[in-house]
């Protein structure tokens, strides 16, 4: 199934690259995010949707478009974090919002990616700002709508910000901690009880007898069992240091591949996270305790985790999709607070790609990879830089969006004194 999915994705990918012309980017500062490191004055040739060559003084094939980077930075396309991209147009308007799900029961078979709308204005706006892939996720449990959700909020997936609908990799989301305790009978302690029951139902359905209270539907049991067998990632939304330790222990017992998201206090259990090789997808701007699970929030979270050897990726805390382009700024702030610059860039490119199982096709620049690339006007983590060119699968992406159309409609009026 996984292989099939990849093949389908690959096919979709090729279909969308209906013969893009070759492009040669000359004289870039290429941040490869591989062991090759950063290459100065380097050319990158894009051909047939892939990175065909990397080197100095490359020859342009006939008819290739040539872009003179003049030393500007070239990076992999950026990760837009975990959220509701293409899942809601306007959060406050329910018919235009599909990320919230609540049937009052645990439904691991819920797959939020089926609602993905690549035509959402937020997709083009963020793509034009250099975001080329993102993890779609269901709403956290605390925000699950009138009928109540469950702590196992369902499946999400990695999408690229072109027209592709099929997720390239999946993840299962679990919401724990104080925010979710209303969905576990009022106590976070019951969250592990409920999960354990669900996992047991999935693994040993024979234990169930008629009339037993159940967590999962028959389809849900099959979905969860299959997912467990394939070793897909479970993304635990959790902030409190003690809760993170409980997740590490739970993952060890259940033999899960755990990923922590949120993780406001993760730095306090950095040693344990490193030992268990559990990555953290954190929000670098978190430094105030929104609740009692986040009392230890600090801008040094990323730097401390990185120093302890934990794999660190970034997302914004807010799941709203409109301004996920802000992730660059968040990464820049982590750097300002002690994270090495290279790790800051990796946290929005290579690390999330690897954590979510797509590291072989995005998040770094290497020959043979799909050409998801961004050429920047300056330092990609700097607020005064913008994306000058964006490629997905070798295809140049339009920088024109609904927002630039609005801008251009009124710019001239302002200049003429007629914006009134």
């Amino acid at each position: 199934m996984k292989r099939l999915t990849s093949l389908l994705a690959l096919a979709a990918c090729f279909a969308s690259m209906s013969a893009p012309a070759a492009t040669l980017i000359r004289n870039a500062t290429v941040h490869t995010l591989t062991s090759a490191g950063t290459l100065e004055n380097t050319d990158v040739l894009i051909d047939k949707g892939r990175i065909a060559e990397i080197g100095r003084g490359l020859r342009a094939p006939d008819g290739a478009e040539i872009i003179d980077a003049a030393g500007r930075p070239l990076t992999p396309g950026l990760f837009g974090g975990l959220g509701h991209l293409g899942l809601l147009e306007i959060g406050l308007e329910p018919p235009a919002a599909d990320a919230r799900f609540g049937l009052g029961a645990m439904r691991p078979e819920f797959d939020v990616t089926l609602a993905y709308n690549p035509d959402s204005a937020a997709v083009e706006v963020n793509r034009a700002a250099g975001i080329t892939f993102a993890m779609l996720m269901p709403s956290p449990a605390g925000d699950s709508g009138p009928r109540g959700g469950s702590i196992l909020t369902g499946q999400g997936g990695i999408v690229t910000l072109d027209a592709g609908l099929e997720p390239l990799a999946r993840a299962m989301f679990v919401d724990l901690g104080g925010d979710a305790s209303a969905l576990s009978g009022g106590s976070r302690a019951a969250q592990f009880m409920l999960l354990e029951q669900a996992f047991t139902e999935a693994r040993t359905p024979d234990l169930l007898r008629a009339g037993d209270p159940r967590q999962l539907t028959p389809i849900g049991r099959r979905t969860l069992r299959t997912y467990l067998e394939r070793g897909g990632p479970f993304v635990f939304h959790v902030d409190r240091a003690a809760d993170i330790l409980q997740v590490i222990a739970f993952a060890r017992r259940e033999k899960l591949r755990a990923v922590i998201t949120g993780g406001a206090e993760a730095w306090r259990v950095a040693r344990e996270l490193a030992a268990a090789d559990v990555p953290v997808v954190l929000a670098p701007l978190d430094n105030l305790p929104q609740n009692f699970d986040q009392v230890g929030a600090t801008l040094k979270n990323a730097a401390r985790l990185h120093a302890a050897g934990v794999r660190v990726a970034f997302s914004l805390r807010d799941t709203e999709p409109h301004n996920i382009r802000k992730i660059r700024q968040a990464a820049g702030n982590a750097v300002a607070h002690g994270l090495p610059w290279e790790a800051g860039l990796a946290a929005i490119t290579r690390v999330p790609a690897e954590v979510f199982g797509v590291g072989d096709r995005m998040g770094s620049i290497a020959v043979g990879r799909p050409a998801d690339l961004v050429l920047w006007s300056g330092d990609p983590l700097e607020v005064t830089s913008l994306a000058d060119h964006v490629f997905i699968g070798g295809e140049p992406q339009p920088l024109e969006t609904r927002q630039t159309e609005l801008r251009d409609r009124y710019l001239d009026r302002v200049r003429r004194g007629a914006a009134r």
Binding site: Q246, N291, E382, Q403, V414
Partner: protein, 484 residues
């Protein structure tokens, strides 16, 4: 405006004394002023108890200085003494005993001012018990005052200070058409809100357009449930406030005519505030996203003869940038927020640049966020980048006015802070580099000349009482071995 406001304070103090005959000049003044007896002539019942912390004469040397007046000085010095700016320029002499700060390679700006914050009224931790920003029990609650809900222990004040914020306006939320009075604070540690109150700053009045009031009250099948209802709701209030003012004028006239039995009108807290807003003594801040609604509010201000200080959020200000500039109304907005609600769907990251580009335009970068207030300089940086892409080059000395001088202007405190001019409060930030960079950090923050933040010492005990006892160390997890 400030002058009439100060006069009102003086008169207020006298009225509070019961207008009883007092000796000498004051009695004369009281008599002279009887014709303008009004509900706004009251003593300040919750006065500022702020006192600048002690300061030593300080000379900052060799910095790139953005004065907030549109000027950039390279290799310049800033001299502060007695809590005030003394001089700005090259080669200043240090007075005897002055602290000298070598700021070569660093940048100096006025203290950052946020005109739109809910720190203290929506503090962290954001527990239900702390929800003090919206008195959402009636669409008009002009009678409530933000300062009565501010929790000075909000940890967000200290993180805002680390972002260079020295002054901020705390507003009630936007659930209501008229949400109540704002308060302007100096960002200093204090056990009471009054000890943070910016001395002599005018009050503001928070009003709200659009979705929020109609959603909150429409959801309860009350008015307003439409934008029509919103505007009708404001207008009814202004009519009442006008009538209230007239009843006071009639009273004043009677007093002036020697009618000693004249009864003052019954005091009304809600109308006290609205009347003061009509008279320009309380500054009106209107939360409004859409261009069409802002245009209507401009006309409403004309209809009732009051002045609007600023539109806040103003996502569509770029569509009517010239109209707003001509009306001399400032726009306080974000750099790139959009789409989080229908009325923000047309937000563009060039909004700031376009409002600024209009002849006479006045723009402010605001936060409305405990995160955004920590980095208003970066928000301005994003606006600079988007302006550049459409061929508008905004130099740092101009961009700094968006978060200093222009903000001071709409708060009515520009005669005291917002620029580095001699005689102004020594509210000063020393940055480790150009402040419009993502890597910029405030090294030193002075308020009235006192060093309130020093990055080198920022790991000391937290300012907020709430954070005392926070565990700033690893948790020694007993589960590390996986045992339960």
């Amino acid at each position: 405006m400030h002058e009439s406001w100060r006069t009102a304070l003086v008169l207020g103090a006298l009225l509070a004394a019961g207008c009883a005959a007092q000796a000498g000049r004051e009695t004369e003044e009281t008599r002279e002023s009887q014709a303008i007896v009004s509900p706004t002539d009251r003593a300040d019942p919750y006065p500022s108890t702020y006192h600048p912390a002690p300061s030593e004469p300080t000379l900052i040397r060799g910095a790139t200085v953005l004065t907030g007046t549109g000027v950039r000085l390279d290799g310049a010095d800033v001299l502060m003494a007695d809590g005030k700016i003394v001089a700005v320029g090259p080669g200043l002499e240090a007075p005897a005993g002055a602290r000298i700060i070598d700021a070569q390679g660093r940048w100096v700006t006025p203290g950052i001012i946020d005109v739109h914050s809910h720190l203290g009224v929506y503090p962290t931790p954001a527990v239900r018990a702390h929800s003090d920003g919206n008195e959402a029990t009636s669409p008009t609650t002009a009678e409530v005052w933000a300062e009565h809900g501010v929790w000075p222990q909000d940890p967000g004040f200290a993180t805002a200070l680390a972002g260079g914020v020295t002054t901020l306006q705390i507003l009630p939320g936007s659930a209501n058409l008229i949400g109540g009075r704002s308060v302007v604070l100096k960002n200093v540690p204090a056990a009471t809100t009054q000890a943070m109150k910016f001395p002599g700053a005018p009050y503001g009045l928070k009003m709200a357009c659009g979705e929020n009031p109609k959603r909150v009250y429409g959801g309860r099948s009350q008015t307003p449930s439409t934008r029509m209802g919103n505007v009708a709701g404001y207008r009814k209030q202004w009519i009442e406030a006008q009538e209230y003012l007239r009843s006071w004028e009639r009273y004043a006239k009677k007093l002036a005519n020697g009618d000693e039995d004249a009864e003052p009108p019954k005091r009304d807290l809600r109308l006290d505030t609205l009347a003061a807003a009509l008279k320009g003594e309380i500054l009106v801040h209107h939360h409004c996203y859409r261009a069409d609604e802002m245009a209507i509010v401009l006309d409403m201000a004309r209809e009732f003869g009051y002045r609007l200080a600023a539109f806040h959020h103003a996502i569509e200000a770029y569509k009517i940038a010239n109209l707003l500039a001509d009306a001399k109304v400032c726009v306080a907005t974000w750099a790139d927020w959009w789409g989080f609600k229908m009325e923000s769907y047309d937000g563009i990251p060039e909004n700031i640049a376009l409002v600024d580009a209009a002849q006479g335009g006045c723009v402010i970068v605001h936060s409305d966020s405990e995160e955004g207030i920590q980095r208003l300089n970066q928000e301005a940086g994003k606006a600079i980048a988007h302006a550049r892409r459409i061929g508008i080059e905004i130099p740092p000395e101009r961009a700094i006015t968006w978060i200093t001088a222009n903000a001071a202007r709409v708060l009515g405190i520009d005669d005291r802070t917002g620029t580095l001019e001699p005689g102004k409060m020594a509210d000063v930030v020393v940055w480790n580099r150009n402040p419009f960079s993502v890597y910029a950090l405030a090294d030193l923050v002075f308020i009235d000349g006192h060093l309130h933040y020093d990055r080198a010492a920022s790991d000391e005990k937290p300012r907020s009482d709430f954070l005392l006892g926070r565990k700033d160390r690893p948790l020694n997890g007993v589960l590390a071995g996986g045992a339960r």
